[in-house]
């Protein structure tokens, strides 16, 4: 699944032109919250081993639309399937205005809804083979859930520009080829919400940033 995530983003990243640019190198720290994560309570339907919930990485991205923002991504038709009682892929980064398809590939009903402010929707319940679509026309992170299978969740980050990166398991991220200038950098995590920092990208070299949740 992680491989698919990388595939989905690679399409956008490789589209950047070769101009004078700097990099953003960041580190994200997730401090332990006051409440501990509870045990896995979601058994599989067959009564076998407990279901393992795949973690969803955080996404760092620059806020705002600016020239040089690539249109190539719009050609792709992003989709987020419901398969094996999971959203696949678990994380989708799409440009503003994208329409995402949500096909149900399981043998049972699913529901797709989101309460996130950039896009609140509820597709209701629908059976296998049916596909419903949502157009995302506001930037920001959107948490997608299935009402029926409450462990099913996915993140859709709606971006206005091509400058974004996934935070790796160690909390590091890097965004290259950013035109020099002042930006707002936002990091969004499906569970921890978002943090926004101001950042200045130099002509050459990299801007370093530490963000704590």
């Amino acid at each position: 699944m992680f491989k698919m995530l990388l595939l989905a983003t690679a399409v956008l990243v490789t589209a950047a032109p070769a101009r004078p640019a700097g990099s953003i190198v960041g580190h994200v720290t997730f401090r332990q919250g006051p409440l501990q994560k509870t045990a896995n309570r979601y058994p599989t339907g067959s009564g076998g081993a407990a279901r393992v919930i795949e973690p969803i990485p955080a996404v760092a991205y620059l806020v705002g639309a600016f020239p040089g923002g690539d249109k190539a991504a719009t050609t792709a038709k992003p989709r987020m399937a419901q398969r094996d009682t999971a959203f696949q892929p678990g994380l989708l980064i799409v440009p503003v205005g994208s329409t995402v398809d949500f096909p149900n590939q399981d043998h049972f009903f699913h529901n797709v809804f989101s309460y996130s402010k950039p896009k609140r929707f509820d597709l209701g319940r629908y059976p296998r083979g049916e596909t419903k679509s949502v157009r995302f026309d506001q930037p920001g992170g959107v948490s997608v859930f299935c009402e029926i299978h409450k462990w099913m969740r996915a993140g859709i980050v709606v971006v206005e520009n091509p400058y974004h990166a996934m935070v790796d398991a160690e909390g590091n991220f890097r965004i290259d080829g950013v035109p020099p200038g002042k930006y707002k950098l936002e990091v969004w995590h499906i569970e921890r919400g978002r943090r926004t920092v101001d950042i200045t990208v130099p002509e050459a070299g990299s801007a370093r940033v530490n963000i704590a949740f």
Partner: protein, 576 residues
């Protein structure tokens, strides 16, 4: 000896009345006390029943409410919509949370419930009751309950007061894909519905009070007459009985909530409990009054039936005391009193007989002897004593009465003898017997008067004179009656002689015989006395010696005197 009523104390009737009334009153009092005690026990039991009933009813009610809250809580925690909406509120969009939770509460059937959201750090994010947001959400958060949940008690319940409202609260952990995102406190108001449920279960007015404020209650408990008492009793333990507007209540406060922070105050109407006992008491009082009256009536009737014979017995006793023996008591009862009356009548009959005997005795012996006999002071067994004997005999009685009617003979004899008897008795003598026309009298027997011989002499003189008077008064065609009298004094045997059936007190002996002989010797109107007699009274009489005479039965000649007079101015001398 008259005994007055005060000395005797109460009359029999009073005692009977008092005893009967006392017994009835005692039974009545005991019964009333028993009823009162039973009433007290009944009320104590009713109060205990109400207290446990209230706790049970409240417990039942709360269990239903709590299970409802738990169900809703589990539903919310199990869904990801509420946690997601909560996340939106964390990001500043509380309006979205409000819409979502109001929708979900409505869907769960508890639209008015308390819902308070707390972030993982314990900050109240949003709270609402009755679908309206609270200005101060912090006030809606019972931190002690949250702590219980964090400590692992997923079924924690507690009471929480928000302003003037009391809530039964239940904390729920909000999670999103296994990640705790905050807390939701659900609460249902402990309201009039709860109070009514308890009130209906135990038939009492109920209110929930905390810190002296009645937060919820049955409609009537908020009435001006009841509310102050309920509030006043909220902090008291134990029961209190107060009458309010004609209705009797027992006030009971049962603790509830953590650390007994609140009280379920019960106003238990005792009317139903007491009504039955009131009726019993009323009936008992009426019955008691009737029983008292009946007892009084019975006592009067019974005492009358008892005292009437007693009164008639008393009256009879009075009659007996006066000497009336011929009026028997008329008591017809067959009880002890009847027996007593019968015995009394027999006694009276005996007394009557005795009285009649006494009368006869008085007639046959002199009154003195009769009295002495009755006193029992005279020994009649027989003794030698000095006796003066007087014999008086009518001279020539047989020729005197020839040709006279027998009735006339007896009348004459009786007249003469009565005269003689009277004089003899007058002089202290005793008429011993009448023998035909002769009377025998004793002086000094059965008792002596000291001057018996002189008395006999004076009696003899007086007899002669009285008879002479009688002769003058009698018709002149009838010949005069005259006595010949003889007196002697000497030792004689005195005593009761005869058979046991018929005794006669008399004297026997030579001296008596001599007196009889002297009588025989005496001529009409003459009184002859013996020498012994004369010696005895020689200084007080005048007598002339007649001389010695041969007397039949006596060996030696007897010296005889003729009495002429006695030394008494009232008694003239005998004429010759």
């Amino acid at each position: 000896m008259s005994t007055s009523r005060s000395e005797r104390g109460l009359t029999f009737r009073s005692k009977l009345v008092l005893a009967l009334l006392g017994a009835v009153a005692a039974v009545l009092i005991v019964a009333l006390l028993a009823v009162r005690e039973e009433t007290g026990d009944q009320i104590t039991r009713a109060i205990e029943r109400a207290a446990t009933g209230a706790q049970n009813a409240f417990g039942d009610f709360e269990r239903v409410r709590q299970s409802q809250l738990q169900r809703v809580g589990a539903q919310f925690a199990g869904s990801n919509r509420v946690p997601l909406a909560f996340q939106q509120a964390l990001e500043g969009d509380t309006a979205f949370l409000r819409d979502q939770i109001s929708y979900d509460l409505g869907l769960a059937g508890v639209p008015s419930a308390l819902a308070a959201f707390v972030d993982p750090f314990g900050n109240a994010i949003y709270a609402q009751v009755d679908g309206k947001p609270l200005d101060d959400p912090e006030a809606a958060v019972p931190l002690d309950l949250l702590q219980k949940l964090i400590d692992g008690d997923t079924a924690a319940f507690g009471y929480h007061r928000i302003g003037e409202r009391l809530y039964s609260a239940h904390p729920v952990l909000l999670q999103l894909v296994e990640q705790p995102v905050g807390f939701l406190i659900l609460g249902s108001q402990v309201d009039a519905v709860a109070a009514n449920a308890i009130g209906q279960a135990i038939s009492a007015e109920v209110c929930f009070a905390i810190a002296g404020v009645c937060l919820a209650g049955t409609p009537r408990s908020f009435q001006a007459t009841l509310l102050p008492h309920m509030v006043a009793h909220a902090n008291r333990r134990g029961t209190e009985r107060i009458e309010i507007a004609g209705e009797r209540y027992a006030f009971i406060a049962e603790p509830f909530g953590q650390n007994a922070a609140g009280s379920i105050v019960l106003a238990l109407p005792l009317g139903d409990q007491l009504a039955a006992f009131d009726n019993i008491q009323k009936t008992l009082r009426l019955a008691g009054f009737a029983a008292l009256e009946l007892a009084l009536l019975l006592a009067i009737l019974l005492s009358r039936s008892l005292t009437r014979p007693v009164h008639s017995l008393v009256a009879a006793t009075e009659r007996v005391r006066r000497g009336e023996y011929n009026n028997p008591v008329n008591v017809i009862t067959r009880d002890e009193l009847g027996t007593l009356a019968h015995a009394f009548n027999e006694m009276m009959h005996g007394l009557l007989l005795k009285d009649q005997y006494r009368g006869v005795l008085d007639k046959v012996v002199s009154r003195e002897i009769a009295e002495e006999l009755l006193k029992g002071e005279i020994s009649l067994g027989g003794e030698n004593r000095l006796v003066t004997t007087l014999f008086a005999d009518i001279r020539g009685f047989t020729p005197l009465t020839q040709g006279m009617e027998p009735q006339r003979v007896i009348a004459l004899l009786n007249e003469v003898m009565a005269c003689a008897s009277r004089i003899i008795e007058d002089e202290g003598g005793v008429v011993d017997k009448f023998v035909g026309d002769e009377v025998m009298a004793l002086f000094g027997a059965p008792m002596s008067r000291g001057d018996d011989v002189f008395r006999a002499a004076r009696a003899a003189v007086r007899i002669q004179q009285e008879i002479e008077h009688l002769n003058e008064e009698r018709p002149h065609d009838e010949p005069p009656v005259r006595f010949g009298i003889g007196i002697n004094t000497g030792i004689a045997v005195a005593g009761n002689m005869g058979s046991p059936q018929r005794l006669n007190y008399t004297v026997l002996g030579e001296s008596v015989n001599l007196a009889s002989r002297l009588c025989d010797e005496a001529k009409a109107g003459q009184v002859l006395i013996s020498h012994d007699a004369f010696i005895n009274i020689s200084d007080r009489v005048e007598a002339s010696v007649i001389g010695t005479r041969e007397v039949k039965g006596f060996a030696a000649p007897v010296l005889i005197y003729e009495l002429v007079s006695v030394a008494d101015p009232t008694v003239p001398a005998l004429a010759h």
